[in-house]
Amino acid sequence: MNNIKPGQVSRLHTRLDRSLLSRDKYKLFLMALPFLALAFVFSYLPLYGWIYAFYDYRPGIPLKDSEYMGFYWFTSMFSNDVRRQEIVRVLTNTFAMSGLSLLTSVLPVAFAIFLTEIRSTFFKRMVQTLTTLPNFISWVLVYSFAFMLFSVDNGFLNNVLLNLGLIDRPMNILASDSNTWLAMTLWSVWKTLGWSAIMYIAAITGIDQELYEAAKVDGAGRFRLMWHITVPGIMPTFFVLLLLSIANFINNGFEQFYVFQNAINMGRIEVLDLYVYNIGMMNSNFSFSTAVSLLKSIVSIVLLFAANHLSKLFRGENII
């Protein structure tokens, strides 16, 4: 940089520009680095643990001394008729409940739209707080709440109905196999409705107010505003979340079903995660559990790409 000739000035400029640019790039990269590192440590490093799926691992004993099982844990799931039936049953439950939760994923959208239409700020705030609150209650507490409400011996509901003379024998609601899927979906809607609506409320506030004004000038009523402006305005958010939940189709949680399970509803409540827990983790069979989670990851990736492809096909935009 010491002997600059006059003709080189413009070239120097571009070089300076470039170095400035690359310095910015550097900076941005450095800013992102901690998060990349976090993602690496928490999402990629654990992939090393997949190796346990191929051994008979017992905690405390190093892997090199453990027995090598090959694909035993993968094939054992499907190794005979009864087991295949079990897997089919469990997957049916998983898909049914995931399907129901996909269907109910429009509820938070509707809820958010109606909530923003409410004019009284106090009432709006109160409703939002009360519906968001359940999200922070753990499932264990939700169950003890459910037990207080619905138990046979001294449950609130049975007491009320008995005292009103509407029934003459207490009902056993928790230990019943009717409508398990629906009941579980309702519990989870109750718990997550307000929380999931937050994202849509944010999306609604992001919609350009001029659109509403223009539509009003054109004579659009309230419901027309909602239908023609608000709904299309939050559709992109809705679809992103929908795609992500499709990718998570097979992991529909575990705690909820774990706390609500009992012998009577076991046939329908047992989703894949719970099944793996019941036969794998309960007996410290970590290798089997790892094998299943490995398969699940693969299914999730396939589902995500399929959904993304469909989105590209129908809506002309994709998220990956």
Partner: protein, 599 residues
């Protein structure tokens, strides 16, 4: 240029550090807990130099904290109260208890194993997989190292030498000693105290009112329970009463409370030596049955509860409630039938028994109650020392004391002079305070003995050493205060009194022995370690267990006999499809090779 590079390197370093501190947070928290040696300058250590100590040596000893990892403990944290004071004075040690029962369960154990450190003093719930894996993984200390056991554990060798030998043969390849079993005892006859582990116990007052109808078989109880319910339709607090109330949170590979029926018939799950699978094995003959055998005791148990439900005697919450809910129902008098004496004792409060109301043993004439019997080789709950323990000598001294007669008395019932004492003739007596505090009441403890309540101050490790029905060498009476002559003759409450008169025995144990309604388990020693089932058997077992559990409860609550039989057939078909026969075959093979071969 250079500066920029430095800056970027610095940023990278920081971010990596951030990430790793975040990751290792969980692990390091554990490490800190282990053997935190209190500094000598700690104020309390020099305050009371070995008060009431026989050898007075502890005055010179530094205070240490022992991390006790107990898979049996139901209390976590520092040992409080009178037991803390006792061992502080004797050994200048504190106990920090980690209880996997309270947080994490089997997964907590797995985490500790994988981390490679089990703490200082380790208590295993069984001598099966976990114990054997810990030995294989080198997590336990060999007690032969530097003559540790010989130097610091002479009383263990003296009082439980056979148990040490057994452990050496079974788990240490004949040379190393990694632990010792619990409840070491020798001699013939039942090993239980005054009461057995199983019942059934019913409401004695109601039974008397009904004119003490004869009960020959299990199903005879149902009519009695029905009449009891008619006699007392409401509990003390006005809730409806039930004959039987069950809970499901103790279920393993089957419904535990149905399996209990086999223990009233001389059978138990597994052979008592190898880990239990799906067989019920007689405790003193060479007979066994599969858990799903049509004429087996498990199905008899299911049928019993099913019939109870058909007669409206079964608590409809049985399926969804937890053990603590049932315990509360017993306390309130909502339940009449108890599988276990210790469960129904919750109702036998001084107020209730003074009013003549209380539970007592009402056996059926064909009963053969299981007694665990004396076992000189030690039970399967193992005491061990972690390989990373800092002061194995001090830990061994403590463990040694637990295996002495003094240790037996004091660790169970508190320091001499508080709840118990020795009278002029050298016999043990329970003090006035003891009658209020024992066995585990929330009676305040005087400050000089450690303060707090008697219950909270109890030895929270929750494993035993010598069998408490063994005879104390000095007093010539058992360790168990319930069996002391002075206690048996101490002002029995009206319920006990009436029970004794009617049954012609002082204690349930005596009644069972006298009438030959008992099957005593014979100890087995083979020189081999208990089997550890291979991975595929293990997996089959848990799959089948899940099916059996699910269908068992469905059968109990089936609408009618027809549905009951349909569910039963479904259960058997499913279990067989999952490899039930192979698991049974494996179970029987190991049982025949070890237990039956030595019986």
């Amino acid at each position: 240029m250079n500066r920029r590079k430095q800056w970027s390197v610095f940023t990278i370093l920081i971010s990596i550090m951030l990430v790793f501190t975040a990751c290792s947070g969980g692990g390091s928290a554990n490490n800190v807990k282990n053997t935190t040696e209190t500094k000598p300058s700690d104020s309390s250590s020099s305050a009371e130099p070995g008060k009431g100590d026989a050898n007075g040596e502890s005055a010179a000893k530094e205070e240490i904290t022992i991390t006790v990892f107990s898979m049996l403990a139901n209390y976590a944290g520092e040992q409080p109260g009178w037991f803390a004071k006792l061992i502080k004075d004797k050994f200048n040690i504190k106990l920090n208890i980690i209880a996997s029962n309270l947080a994490g369960g089997q997964q907590k154990i797995a985490t500790m194993m994988a981390a490679g450190d089990l703490g200082d003093l380790v208590v295993f719930g069984s001598n099966g997989d976990d114990y054997q894996d810990a030995i294989k993984a080198g997590l336990l200390l060999d007690w032969n190292q530097n003559g540790l056991l010989e130097k610091y554990g002479p009383d263990i060798l003296k009082n439980a030498g056979q148990a040490i030998d057994a452990n050496k043969q079974q788990f240490g390849g004949g040379t190393a000693i990694y632990g010792i079993g619990h409840d070491v005892g020798s001699g013939e006859g039942p090993s239980e105290g005054a009461e057995m582990v199983f019942g059934p116990n019913l409401r004695w007052d109601l039974y008397q009112k009904l004119g003490s109808p004869e009960i020959n078989t299990l199903s005879d109880y149902l009519n009695v329970l029905k009449q009891m319910k008619e006699l007392e339709p409401k509990s003390d607090s006005g809730r409806p009463t039930y004959g039987i109330s069950l809970w499901s949170d103790w279920d393993g590979n089957y419904m535990t409370l149905a399996k209990v029926i086999s223990q009233m018939n001389g059978y138990q799950e597994g052979d008592g030596f190898n880990p239990a699978g799906l067989t019920l094995v007689s405790v003193n003959t060479k007979e066994w049955q599969g858990i799903l055998d049509d004429d087996g005791y498990y199905l008899e148990g299911l049928k019993f509860y099913f019939d109870a439900n058909q007669m409206g005697l079964l608590d409809p919450d049985s399926l969804t409630q937890k053990f603590s809910d049932v315990s509360n129902k017993f306390k309130d008098g909502q339940v009449f039938f108890s599988q276990f004496p210790w469960l129904s004792n919750a109702y036998n409060t001084p107020e209730n028994t003074a009013a003549g109301k209380g539970f007592a043993l009402i056996p059926f004439q064909q009963e053969k109650i299981v007694s665990y019997g004396m076992n000189p080789y030690g039970g399967n709950r193992v005491w061990a020392i972690g390989s990373k323990a800092k002061d194995p000598e001090r830990i061994m001294e403590f463990l040694n004391w637990l295996y002495t007669p003094d240790g037996m008395m004091e660790a169970s019932y508190g320091p001499k002079g508080l709840a118990w004492d020795i009278d002029g003739s050298g016999k043990p007596i329970v003090t006035d305070y003891g009658y209020k505090a024992l066995p585990a009441n929330t009676e305040p403890v005087p400050e000089e003995f450690g303060g707090g309540t008697f219950k909270d101050g109890m030895n929270q490790i929750n494993n035993t050493t010598l069998k408490n029905s063994m005879i104390h060498p000095d007093t010539k009476e058992p360790y168990d205060y319930n069996l002391w002559t002075s206690v048996l003759n101490h002002d029995p409450d009206p319920v006990t009194k009436s029970w004794r008169e009617a049954m012609g025995a002082m204690t349930p144990r005596e009644y069972f022995v006298k009438n030959d309604l008992i099957a005593v388990h014979q100890p087995v020693f083979t020189g081999d370690a208990p089997a550890t089932p291979p991975a595929d058997i293990q997996q089959k077992l848990s799959e089948i267990g899940k099916v059996i559990k699910e269908y068992s409860w469905k059968m109990v609550f089936a609408k009618n006999e027809e549905e009951y039989n349909k569910l039963k057939n479904q259960m058997v078909d499913k279990a067989k499809g999952l490899g039930y026969d192979e698991v049974i075959k494996y179970d029987v093979e190991i049982t025949e090779k070890t237990v039956f071969a030595n019986r």
